[in-house]
């Protein structure tokens, strides 16, 4: 039986176990004179029975999923005459893959050596056996668990703390999955970056002023040495983000203040969601808006005034990115502004301050940490944004602070480094990981600062 079906079967057992356990507990309670006589409520006994029924079987299933493939293919390979291995260390693995492919019918059986075909059939047979045996075993384990747990149900059985503990473990397990995934990603990026730094010195990467990651595929090709100075990319990122923030911070903040302080309730009820819709627009839509509408418009406008504006400019990308970020800032700021206690406003108004004086001198300062945190989050969002810049700001790694020029950003370069056919271990590919690492560190630091600031804000009104 396939693992998925087996899982469904186990689920059915578990559900049954719950009812059996609860029924048993109810029965015992009736004999003992009502469910007050039980240490734990019948439901807890049901959950306990279900746990005893399901948990060992699921563990068994997991172990089987992890190990059965390896064990079976090792058995099949061992049954082959030794001469079949191609000599090099990877040979065994290659052969195992080949056999597996034949077994699954990916490779046609017709023109394969008979011995491999036989091995493939052996593989299929063993797999079948192993599936059925794990089905039988898991069913047995869960039934035994069910019966054992049912037999243990007495008025004294302390099911409640056990179920409670199991909930804790389950939650802990989920939290671990999330944390380990994050660490897994970090470590893989870190590892690949270290590999990159073996061929390109860290200092060259961080302080180098020239970025042209073209490496030769063959040794005798011209222009074979790429240069991996990331400064132009970071300057480009900074430039685009700065333009974006110049747009987003004032507009976002002002609209937040308007919504939180001045807008009538009915206006707010519509305007706030409308603004948040901006955050829901896919970035690719913003991207082509930037590339096809804003950039040409800026170029034409520039021409009219005698500026030379590149048709892919940091300005175009930054402007559109700024619009995209407005809801982040306005929504977060709106929340912190409305969280400022009314008593502070009353206090200020009662001093004879006007509404705007109150907003400027009391409400905004009180909300400032939260607003700053919102801006920080928006900045890290801007730095990590890819689609808009890919489409609208260009690929040329110009070292410039002129927003009318075309620039490229870290994220754009990561995209271009990794799209298309690439060697996995060339510095060109690995450079993407190094860029990713630096980007990650920057946004991490920004987010940590933002969270710290938000925390301080919270404490202020404890």
């Amino acid at each position: 039986m396939h693992a998925n079906n087996l899982l469904l079967l186990l689920l059915a057992f578990v559900a049954a176990a719950f009812y059996v356990g609860r029924g048993r507990a109810n029965h015992i309670a009736k004999l003992a004179g009502g469910s007050r006589q039980l240490h734990s409520l019948p439901d807890y006994h049901g959950h306990y029975t279900a746990l005893c029924c399901g948990l060992p079987a699921v563990l068994l299933l997991i172990l089987w999923i992890i190990f059965s493939g390896h064990v079976i293919s090792a058995m099949v390979l061992d049954s082959l005459p030794a001469g079949q291995f191609l000599g090099d260390p990877g040979g065994r693995e290659l052969l195992a893959n080949k056999i597996a492919n034949i077994a699954q019918g990916v490779l046609p059986k017709a023109n394969q050596p008979a011995i491999l075909v036989a091995a493939a059939e052996e593989l299929n047979r063993l797999t079948q056996i192993s599936r059925w045996s794990v089905t039988a075993l898991a069913s047995c384990v869960s039934l035994v668990g069910l019966i054992w747990a049912r037999s243990r149900i007495t008025p004294e059985l302390r099911s409640r703390p056990r179920v409670e503990a199991s909930i804790r473990y389950a939650l802990f397990f989920c939290a671990c999955v999330a944390v380990f995934t994050t660490f897994g990603i970090i470590f893989s990026v870190l590892f690949e970056s270290l590999q990159f730094f073996q061929s390109v010195p860290v200092v060259d990467f961080i302080f180098g002023l020239e970025w042209s990651p073209q490496t030769a595929i063959r040794d005798d090709q011209v222009g074979s040495s790429g240069s991996f100075g990331a400064v132009p990319l970071f300057v480009g990122t900074l430039l685009v983000s700065a333009v974006a923030m110049v747009v987003a911070v004032p507009i976002g903040l002002m609209s937040a203040i308007f919504l939180a302080e001045y807008a009538h309730k009915s206006v707010r009820a519509y305007a706030k969601p409308a603004l948040e819709v901006l955050a829901g627009i896919p970035t690719v839509v913003y991207g082509f808006f930037a590339a096809l509408t804003v950039a040409p418009f800026l170029r034409d406008l520039g021409q009219g005034y005698g500026f030379s504006v590149s048709s892919e400019s940091a300005l175009a990308a930054g402007l559109v990115m700024g619009v995209m970020i407005i809801p982040f800032i306005s929504s977060l700021s709106d929340d912190v502004i409305t969280a400022v206690p009314q008593s502070l406003r009353d206090g200020s108004l009662a001093m004879g301050a006007t509404h705007s004086e109150t907003v400027i001198r009391v409400v905004i300062p009180a909300a400032l940490p939260g607003i700053v945190a919102g801006i920080m989050l928006a900045i890290s969002r801007a730095i990590g944004e890819t689609m808009i810049v890919v489409m609208a700001s260009g690929l040329a790694a110009n070292m410039t602070f002129n927003p009318l020029d075309s620039v490229t950003t870290v994220t754009v370069q990561i995209v271009t480094l990794l799209t298309g056919d690439q060697e996995f271990d060339s510095p060109k590919t690995l450079a993407a990981f190094a860029l990713g690492l630096v980007l990650f560190l920057i946004t991490l630091i920004l987010n940590i600062i933002a969270l710290k600031v938000v925390k301080r804000f919270r404490e202020q009104y404890e």
């Binding site: 302080e261 009353d346 206090g347 108004l349 009662a350």
Partner: protein, 294 residues
């Protein structure tokens, strides 16, 4: 401004000011055309209220209140919760303006000037009639900036030295100077509850108001801090006109010269404090101060 959601009183309970209570109102001695007993008017009145009705939407919270507030005197307003003390107090510096749907009828004057006339500048009025709230609400700024807030927005100080002086004087009058003079530039929110409330009083008197309204200023404080504030009120009453709402009858007896008893949105009785607590004129007042309800 969106105040209704955040204003202290959430959804008022229906029965609080329903006139259908007429039945039991007459039972406890309150008739529809009730006239306040006692000495409503006094000689040296700083503020006067005549026939004031206040509504939240359709619900009437204050019915036909007429009372004088004596110059450089303390008037205490007492009564069961929800009887409209805060509502009436807030109408004296037009803080009710900030509440959506709050409507006021009648005539309130300060030194003969109509508070609700279109010519009156609310900003100026509130500089003349300051307010201290139930929960201490210092701004999240330094102690200095808290006190300097009023003088700054009203442009009362020409120079920094002036401002320093004003801050010191207000803090001294609020009896807080000695405790905070070494940490003027630390956050006002870091003070203890009682100190925060005195800071709020200092903040209110920094603009030299003529009247100070206090809405249960001690209800969030411990007895020692309360005693400090009561002393302070006594001192301030030599120079300021004070109207204080309180739940605590001993407090009313200690700090005030006159006491006004509110019940279900009506002003039942106004008399010299001593008389109210020893020999109340109205049976409802008597029931309240002897603890029959409240």
């Amino acid at each position: 401004m969106n105040t209704s959601a955040t204003f202290g009183v959430g959804t008022p309970s229906e029965s609080d000011f329903r006139d259908t209570r007429g039945g039991d109102m007459s039972e406890i001695g309150l008739t529809k055309g009730h006239v306040t007993v006692g000495s409503v008017e006094i000689q040296a009145a700083k503020m006067t209220a005549r026939g004031v009705n206040i509504f939240y939407g359709d619900k009437q919270a204050i019915h036909d209140v007429t009372v004088d507030i004596g110059k450089n005197q303390v008037i205490a307003m007492i009564g069961p919760s929800g009887c409209g003390k805060s509502t009436f107090l807030r109408s004296l510096n037009r803080m009710n303006d900030t509440i959506d749907g709050c409507k006021i009828e009648g005539d309130i004057r300060i030194d003969g000037e109509d508070l609700y006339s279109p010519k009156l500048d609310v900003v100026e009025l509130r500089a003349r009639v300051g307010m201290v709230f139930q929960k201490p609400n210092p701004f999240p700024k330094s102690i200095y900036d808290n006190v300097a807030y009023g003088p700054k927005i009203h442009g009362l100080a020409e120079t920094r030295v002036d401002l320093d002086e004003m801050v010191e004087k207000s803090l001294r009058r609020a009896g807080l100077w000695d405790e905070v003079k070494d940490r003027l530039f630390q956050a006002g929110t870091g003070l203890s509850g009682g100190q925060q409330q005195r800071l709020c009083i200092a903040r209110a008197i920094a603009v030299s108001p003529e009247v100070i309204l206090m809405d249960e200023p001690c209800s969030a404080l411990d007895p020692i801090a309360t005693a400090r504030i009561e002393e302070l009120i006594e001192e301030l009453s030599h120079n300021f006109t004070i109207a204080i709402v309180t739940h605590n009858m001993q407090q009313a007896a200690r700090v005030s010269q006159r006491t006004a008893y509110f019940h279900l949105g009506r002003l039942i009785e106004v008399n010299p404090t001593e008389q109210v607590f020893t020999n109340p004129e109205h049976s409802l007042t008597e029931s309240y101060i002897t603890g029959r309800f409240g």
